[in-house]
């Protein structure tokens, strides 16, 4: 993932603007978002609520149009198909209550009309990958919040998308489960090799997970910084107690005007 200056980025954003219009009022949601994401990177978008993180994610997902600038997805080596290369994970697991876990994971494959038998096989493998082997036939209500979120991650991977967009996926979990899910996500990311854009307002979470952190500030919404995180991998919770880790988080706190 450290391909240097030669390799083409998978995501290229340059001067992206987004304006929300409600009647005659205009509100600038994003001004000048500029950053690149290399294939296989896990980029954290961090900032206070209302700073346009989710909006940026929706632009990447092709759900919102942008009002200015350049959004480019895919590269010659990694072509991007907007209809099937996006996986999404939200703050709530949003599993369908009436479907068993396996059927929930299969939803994107069904929508895309992928071959059923192969998809089932893949869904089973993914459930094993996220640590839910043996839970395939349960209903969502039979699983804890953390386990439901694991299933939601498997669902985001089932159609083998090149890009996974995560919008505060662990924001609703308790602190301990959240730390555990951070470690799990790093493992899943490593094994699946996906490019991930991870939106969070947790500063230490952003540093702990990211190969790179993009900091956004609110009011007016703008991009404050974008830097690489050079911390050893595999990352362990022990890392959080170290001085280098603290330097990164301090840098973000400063950018957000909290120091």
């Amino acid at each position: 993932m450290k391909g240097g200056m030669m390799a083409a980025p998978f995501i290229h954003l340059a001067g992206v603007r987004k304006i929300y219009r409600r009647g005659r009022q205009e509100q600038l949601a994003i001004s000048d978002a500029t950053f690149d994401v290399m294939p296989g990177e896990l980029v954290s978008l961090v900032g206070p609520s209302g700073c346009g993180k989710s909006t940026l994610l929706k632009i990447l997902a092709g759900l919102h149009a942008h009002d200015g600038g350049e959004v480019q997805l895919g590269s010659p080596e990694h072509p991007f198909d907007p209809s099937r290369d996006i996986g999404m994970v939200f703050q709530a697991p949003l599993l369908l209550k009436w479907r068993r876990i396996l059927e929930n994971v299969l939803l994107p494959a069904e929508i895309l009309g992928l071959p059923a038998a192969a998809s089932r096989e893949r869904a089973r493998d993914l459930l094993a990958l996220v640590g839910l082997a043996g839970q395939e036939d349960k209903y969502p209500y039979e699983l804890s919040g953390g386990m439901q979120q694991r299933a939601a991650i498997a669902r985001a991977l089932v159609h083998d998308p090149k890009l996974v967009l995560m919008d505060e996926p662990f924001g609703a979990l308790d602190a301990l489960t959240r730390e555990k899910m951070n470690l799990e996500l790093l493992r899943i990311w490593k094994e699946s090799g996906k490019t991930i854009v991870f939106v969070t307002h947790g500063i230490s979470e952003a540093v702990f997970l990211g190969t790179r952190v993009v900091v956004l500030t609110a009011g007016p919404a703008r991009m404050a910084d974008n830097f690489e995180i050079n911390l050893p991998r595999p990352r362990t919770l022990d890392l959080k107690t170290q001085e280098v880790f603290g330097e990164y988080t301090r840098r973000i706190y400063k950018l957000l005007g909290m120091e």
Binding site: K58, A61, G62, L63, P82, S83, R84, I86, M88, F90, A92, L94, L96, K97, W98, L107, P108, E110, I111, L112, Y139, P140, Y141, H159
Partner: protein
């Protein structure tokens, strides 16, 4: 867990039997005249009166209730579906239907008789008119309640409107449809009976008016019990269907 269920069921049975016993003792010990309140036994005896033609009356009332209810289910769900497809139609018709819903349906009875004479059909219409709204309103609400993020998920995969409908909207609305169906099941019975009171020549409601004249209270009691049982049968069928189709956690109480 299972023991708890059995315990609750046993208690429910005991409560019903206790009511029967209280009824019996009240009549027996209070020396209540039969034309005021018959004993359970005397009520049961009313079934033996062949000239009351119980079976015909049961089938007539049952037909009215089930036909009106089924019609309301089909039309209520169909309208809700149409409204969920077209915002313009919904914006035009929904307020109108809400206003029409304010009409006390019982007040329509005499009109229905003028238009359709009396019999099974107008009484079914009565049952229909009283129970179509709860089904329509709850179904429409259920179809609307889609998490916006699920919508995003489907859109990000370029899923079709039809896929959104069959995979997310409709199964998601099912619990709401059933909650409307349960309310409607109780209303349908009331509608059919009111129809029979207003004008009919058959049915349990009609029979009640006939025996009222001769002060045959046991037969009136029996008729009320039979009407209730038809309602219980309908309600039970809805519950059973809900149990088969809706996952436990998704049911709306």
């Amino acid at each position: 867990m299972n023991n708890d269920k059995i315990g609750r069921f046993a208690l429910a049975v005991v409560a019903h039997l206790a009511l029967l016993l209280a009824w019996y003792l009240f009549v027996k010990l209070g020396n209540v005249p039969k034309f005021v309140m018959p004993s359970p036994g005397a009520t049961l005896d009313a079934l033996l009166q062949p000239n009351y033609d119980w079976w015909t009356n049961i089938t007539v009332t049952g037909t009215e209730i089930f036909a009106g209810y089924f019609l309301a289910l089909v039309i209520g769900v169909a309208l809700a579906l149409i409204f969920s497809w077209s915002r313009a139609l919904e914006a035009f018709f929904m307020p109108l239907l809400v206003s029409l819903n304010m009409i006390p349906k019982v007040a329509l009875g005499p009109l229905i008789i003028v238009w359709f004479k009396y019999g099974v059909f107008p009484n079914s219409l009565m049952a229909f008119s009283i129970c179509v709204f709860p089904i329509l309103l709850t179904t429409a609400r259920g179809l609307r309640e889609v998490e916006p993020e699920l919508l995003d998920l489907v859109k990000s995969l370029k899923g079709s409107r039809w896929q959104l409908f069959t995979k997310i909207q409709l199964p998601g609305a099912l619990p709401y449809i059933f909650s409307g169906m349960k309310v409607a099941a109780i209303l349908a019975v009331a509608g059919a009976i009111v129809g029979e009171f207003l004008g009919s020549d058959k049915g349990l409601g009609y029979l009640m008016l006939q025996v009222q004249v001769t002060l045959d209270t046991p037969a009136m009691f029996m008729a009320v019990i039979l009407i209730t049982l038809i309602g219980v049968l309908l309600y039970g069928m809805v519950l059973l269907l809900e149990r088969l189709l809706v996952v436990k956690d998704a049911r709306v109480e």
